[in-house]
Symmetry: C3
Subunit: 389 residues, 3 copies
């Protein structure tokens, strides 16, 4: 704070970011981290941000979503000269509206964002009674394409990313979100990747309460269990934590809850590899046949990996291998958490009789379609159907 102005200092520089235990990426970020520090101010604050460029090329910062003087908008060449390596520029403007914003370069933008340069900005409302919540988390979605064994992202990749991250972290490296039963919870999610991320929660419905453009009027909100966050969008979702448990919270694109993998691997499901494996082992004694029965075995096995790589599917839960990666974490709803308690409460203990378990008794006869089923691709749930048991 300097004479009534809130001052921040962002240093654009190379950073080492641990994506999850076992893998570090060489990124570009701010102040030793990627995403950069979350800037928090209050509606009406005058804010001054010093930006020092320690990168090998010029940069700038665009304050995504803010109302500000055109010359503070950070578009290289258009609204300002670029910040050369070694120099510091200063931005200054009033945080005019409460809400959630992002910041990122608008200079060699494709490269610098692919390298991890981005951050969150929260302007809290002047009136603390405005839209109060009990917990208020922030996430930035990004994606990297890092070859196994390597540490620097491939910056020209447009589609085939292999690491999908929350705040440049992947499962199992992402903290759980502990909340108290009954809490009003807000999660602010910004997307600075190259594709939509449909963010899904288990066991609860939420509404999108705000965007980077403002707060959504109550009457205009939709009930959702999945919101499709577009690129360059921020969605502040809100919900009441109505049920205890460990509730999955993830991107619903199934490849985005995996870690680095090759997408060209042939499918071996249903193919007997015994003969060929014997022959290959004559040449490569460690060779393993994989995928004959699906890929769940990969979630549990220990397979030698190159240095600085994560398994495609990993993570241990209370009931075994979770076979996940990437954009996956949990909301842990508990009774008895204190207001400022963000410690991981451990795994939820399912009360007796509330958990799916093995059944060894008699079974109803399943309804069956004639195989191969050659009828309709449509089903009218109003017409009498043989699908009901």
């Amino acid at each position: 704070m300097n004479a009534g102005v809130k001052e921040f200092h962002l240093v654009a520089e190379t950073v080492i970011r641990e994506l999850a235990p076992g893998m570090r990426a060489r990124l570009w970020g701010y102040n030793g981290q990627s995403p950069g520090p979350t800037i928090e101010v209050v509606e009406g604050d005058r804010v001054r941000i010093f930006v020092t460029n320690k990168l090998p090329e010029h940069t700038s910062i665009h304050w995504h979503g803010q109302r500000l003087p055109n010359g503070m908008d950070g578009v290289n060449g258009l609204t300002q000269a670029p910040i050369p390596p070694g120099k510091t520029f200063v931005y200054e403007f009033v945080a005019q509206r409460a809400g959630t914003f992002m910041y990122h370069p608008h200079a060699d933008e494709m490269v610098q964002m692919a390298m991890g340069m981005m951050g969150f900005w929260v302007t809290h409302p002047k009136d603390p009674k405005f839209a109060p919540v009990d917990r208020d988390f922030v996430f930035l979605l990004n994606a990297y394409d890092i070859d196994p064994g390597s540490a620097t992202p491939r910056v020209m990749t447009m589609l085939d990313f292999n690491l999908w991250t929350f705040n440049s972290r992947v499962f199992p490296g992402i903290d759980a979100m502990p909340v108290h039963l009954g809490d009003r919870v807000r999660i602010r999610i910004g997307n600075l990747s190259m594709t939509n991320h449909p963010i899904h929660i288990h066991g609860h419905e939420f509404e999108v309460a705000g965007t980077d453009g403002g707060w959504v009027p109550r009457a205009a909100r939709w009930p959702e269990v999945t919101t499709d966050v577009g690129v360059g969008q921020m969605r502040a979702i809100e919900f009441d934590a109505i049920a205890e448990g460990d509730w999955a919270f993830h991107c619903h694109k199934s490849h985005h809850t995996m870690n680095a993998m090759g997408h060209d691997v042939p499918t071996m499901i249903g193919i007997d590899q015994k003969d060929v494996v014997q022959k290959i082992r004559g040449l490569l004694p460690d060779y393993m046949a994989m995928g004959e029965a699906g890929m769940a075995e990969m979630g549990a096995m220990e397979m030698p990996l190159p240095d600085n790589t994560l398994p495609m599917m990993t993570g241990q839960g209370p009931y075994g291998a979770m076979e996940m990666g990437g954009m996956f974490t949990t909301v842990k709803v508990r009774k008895g958490l204190a207001r400022d308690d963000y410690k991981d409460p451990g795994w939820y203990r399912q009360p007796a009789g509330t958990q799916a378990t093995e059944w060894t008794g008699a079974l109803p006869v399943p309804s069956r379609a004639d195989a191969p089923r050659a009828d309709s691709g449509t089903v009218d749930v109003r017409k009498p159907t043989r699908h009901q048991h």
Copy 2:
């Protein structure tokens, strides 16, 4: 029904699914079909589902969108142990809210969903007068990557799918949806593929009346002709069938209304292939030059195909080849259909004078841009323009 509890039995197993006449896929599904049977219950029902695993690897079922005890949520490793091959697990919970839900594995999820394991769940409202409609169809969107001549999906594919399906069927294998003129029609569409599907209807506007998170308040609905269904989302659209006819209903991504094709084929438009064809025919007598004038010729011709493959563009309408595939069907609006009549009423007969036909009379002079047009990429429809005739 067992002592007040509605019981269902899902058997996870290998299934053969005809995608359209001429092509069968080897998928994983439930009870001999993929998608699995649509589960229908009434709000407040206590439901018990037995899940028997006849796959070669373990599985689980997540009840997408449901309020339920955490231990019934079906996330392998996190909320339950996996269901091993050969075993049966039992899930039990109350269907707490009316609406549309999905079910799918949450164990080796990427592989099992790429193989077709998914199904719909409709909980009808307790009050039959709530949001009544005359027709109520359900669709699951999925995509498969099956090499021509093969039958098993490539499960590692992230983006380059070649078969885009409604309920694991492709055009012309998808039933038309016959509705009565004036009907209130609901179509519930769930997306369990890896990309957005913008679902488009011809000749009508609809609104999204519900999501897997609940019913959209009337005042919050938008008028649409295309809704972009994100992955892991369900959209229940509703409209009044205002005009008779055969109205196309499809995904608006043009490649998603095609069947299997190579995306690397060079464009031959405008290239004279006569010389080269003569030379190739010296070696391959059956060789055909293609694509010189576009690809419409492929919709009509009979070209030898590998076994178990569909043409890229296919289907016959009342006026010739329709040149479609994939996620395409029709809503057939007719007078005089009975409430329970779901028989295909055949092609619509266009009344005289209501159909585009050849014109051989005088023509107005078309407005023309100077070629090559080098002006604006923007047009203001408020300024005087030379584009109007």
Copy 3:
């Protein structure tokens, strides 16, 4: 105008379209242009459109979003016979509802749309006081895949497009949108490409006021700075021009504001190429090492390019190279523009003291994370945080 009917004549034909100075594409379009002419009529008008086919293959036109007789809907094979090469068909219907529509072929649709066949249609409301605006721009989003040095799009491309266009133009070939300070501005954006385009504006918030399905009720609108326009969707956004300046307006996918590039280029960031460059120069004297410090150098340098290609990053602003391409332009908000003045007002002059500039004074100490940061992927902005300065 013919006996109370508004007549238009569209000629489907090969067109040469300049994408930006330096590159022309060989497309298919209407009346010498791609997109075709914007059709403007008034609600209630009877409209007759003659469509002459000068392409080498048959075609049809679908009037996307319109209420019309089924036989005028333009779906080849289903609602009409195709229009053969050399023939003219006539469509006729009443423009029943005010709004924004698109037109495009529904015959060999994938190919013909990949070649650029599409256009906008605006039906103005009968009541000129309905939803009045001061400026009203229209954009069609499309994408082409044209190999450097070539002019014809690769029509089979599903995902890997390399030219992302507004009205088949790319930056710096797209006109700026000049508006008067305080104007109510509408921009109608239709998407006929193969992926979502999140359209973003700087310095302002907007709302989606209309879709191709109708006008969004005021109470149902969301404040946004980025709207994700799905394929086959039209979004009419509206905002008040609240601040003078040159405000960037673009797709937020960073690769979509670039021109043609290879996505397989390896990343050289941080790699010292001196030795290898010397060796290569023994063979290729002109060889340049690139990308060692990022790619901003490409925005400024003059590198020899193949004929008929655009640089990946290009464009000069008032403060140097802008390093952009593709779907990028500006909204230029000025005082003193006349109502019908669409002339580019030049670059905005930033008032003194309102622009980011170099700072050489004392600096606050930046908050820093411990490097490498191995903690949470989540941040709760309610908990005490060391990220704040």
